[in-house]
């Protein structure tokens, strides 16, 4: 007699090729908000089981990113796909897979920089601290500052490139960038301005340029 077996999470190799976004949108029958989120709940189950010490390690990331892209396009206003890419799939210990997830986050940011900058900021931090790829982190940080016009963009996100440049030991580039930010009047908070002016003087002294004592 067959006894019902408990359902198991689908294995990594069971992830099918992604459909075209138009097909997925047709399947939603107009209920894009519900369908996109339900699709993400289904997707996150692949290669995620209690006996899997490292979830998602065996997933075909080319297919995964295809699915994330298709689901994102069904409901562009949902952040589920981006959160999953930035905070789950990008934290795969395999650097190649992690980069694919970060590239998806970057691609998504370029479509809507004002709303999706938090995910790219997280991607920049992952690139810096986990992948130790400072040029990649710098590229992401520079895109946030250059492209996002969100009035709620916090100062740390806008200044991220400066600190990445410092870590790259590119003190001159950091100094020039910070000087330009101060000169352009982008820093409105007095306390922040004081902190950054102090930081700029510190960069100048470290890069061997004397403090001229001018108010920037």
């Amino acid at each position: 007699m067959t006894i019902a077996r408990p359902a198991r999470a689908p294995a990594a190799e069971e992830l099918p090729p992604p459909p075209r976004p138009a097909i997925l949108r047709a399947a939603a029958l107009g209920e894009t908000a519900a369908f996109a989120r339900l699709a993400m709940v289904h997707l996150q189950a692949f290669d995620l089981s209690s006996d899997n010490a490292t979830p998602y390690r065996n997933l075909d990331y080319a297919r995964l990113v295809g699915w994330l892209r298709a689901i994102r396009d069904v409901d562009p206003r949902s952040d589920y796909a981006l959160l999953s890419a930035a905070r789950i799939y990008a934290e795969n210990p395999d650097p190649a897979r992690s980069r694919m997830a970060l590239a998806f986050v970057h691609e998504s940011f370029l479509q809507d920089p004002d709303r999706r900058w938090p995910w790219l900021a997280h991607a920049a931090l992952l690139a810096k601290h986990r992948l130790r790829d400072l040029p990649l982190a710098r590229r992401y940080a520079a895109d946030i500052a250059r492209l996002s016009r969100d009035s709620n963009l916090p100062d740390w996100a806008r200044q991220l490139e400066v600190f990445v440049l410092e870590d790259m030991n590119e003190l001159d580039a950091a100094r020039v960038l910070l000087g330009a930010m101060l000169a352009a009047g982008k820093i409105r908070d007095p306390a922040e301005r004081r902190f950054l002016e102090h930081h700029l003087r510190d960069l100048e002294s470290r890069s061997g340029i004397a403090d001229k004592g001018e108010k920037r």
């Binding site: 107009g30 908000a33 519900a34 989120r37 339900l38 709940v41 789950i88």
Partner: protein, 261 residues
């Protein structure tokens, strides 16, 4: 002058009889079961979501309740008419001083009120997840959508005379109306062929789309997650649903008048 005198007596009585039949046939119980099942499923699925759990609950519940409302209304209309036909109820009703138009519209009115009651019951739980203005827009749209489904089901069951074909035709029309915009987009998309067969398929799809209401822009769960639609957009949706309901009713009346009962 009493307000109720505006509605002809026979039509009002038929509408009331239809509502009584819906109540005694277990429709309120089915609607309650649908609500309970939907809320339970939405709550369960939201437990495994890692983010946006409230929008997921709201949108999933709304999507399921919408389909549930359409199914309950269509099933009730079709089975009610089929049962009355089997019991020779039409012949009895039409032997009374009652025109075919009054009979048909009275039945439709009763089913429309039942649909509105279902829409109201289904909209109330959504207030837990969405602002009142968004739920109000969703409720209005669902009420008109159930009117459309009731009109269509009534027309199809009188025309096709059997339960399964009428239900299948209603379901097919409903699914096609919800998906036709996406089908058009696929047919005319960048990956579509340039050959004659592909262009002919595009024309056929566009032709079919002209005959169908745009149900993909009505009663959207997006409204509950991202905010209510503007008055103009909502007005267009409601007008479109009302127009197609009127067309289906007119078609049903024409067919009912020509039947030899």
């Amino acid at each position: 002058m009493h307000p109720k005198a505006h509605l002809p007596g026979p039509m009002r009585m038929l509408a009331q009889a239809t509502l009584l039949e819906a109540r005694r046939g277990g429709l309120p119980l089915l609607a309650a079961a649908c609500i309970a099942g939907t809320i339970g499923l939405a709550a369960f699925v939201s437990q495994v979501a890692i983010t946006e759990s409230v929008p997921l609950q709201a949108s999933l519940a709304a999507a399921l309740l919408r389909v549930g409302a359409a199914f309950l209304v269509a099933a009730h209309v079709v089975t009610s008419v089929a049962r009355e036909a089997a019991d020779k109820g039409f012949e009895l009703a039409l032997s009374l001083p009652l025109s075919r138009t009054q009979f048909y519209l009275g039945r439709l009115l009763g089913h429309a009120v039942a649909g509105t009651a279902i829409a109201t019951a289904f909209a109330l739980p959504l207030l837990a997840w969405a602002p009142p203005d968004a739920v109000a827009a969703w409720w209005l749209s669902l009420a008109f959508e159930t009117l459309l489904v009731a009109s269509l089901s009534l027309f199809l069951v009188f025309t096709l005379a059997h339960v399964v074909p009428a239900l299948a035709a209603t379901a097919g029309f409903y699914v096609l109306a919800r998906g036709i915009a996406s089908i058009q987009a696929i047919a005319s998309g960048p990956l579509a062929d340039d050959g004659f067969a592909s262009r002919a398929a595009q024309w056929a799809v566009d032709g079919v789309a002209l005959l169908l209401p745009r149900l993909d822009v009505a009663t959207r769960s997006d409204w509950l997650v991202y905010g209510a639609p503007g008055a103009t957009e909502l007005g267009r949706v409601l007008a479109s649903l009302a127009l197609y309901a009127a067309l289906a009713s007119a078609a049903g009346l024409v067919d009912f008048h020509r039947r030899n009962l």
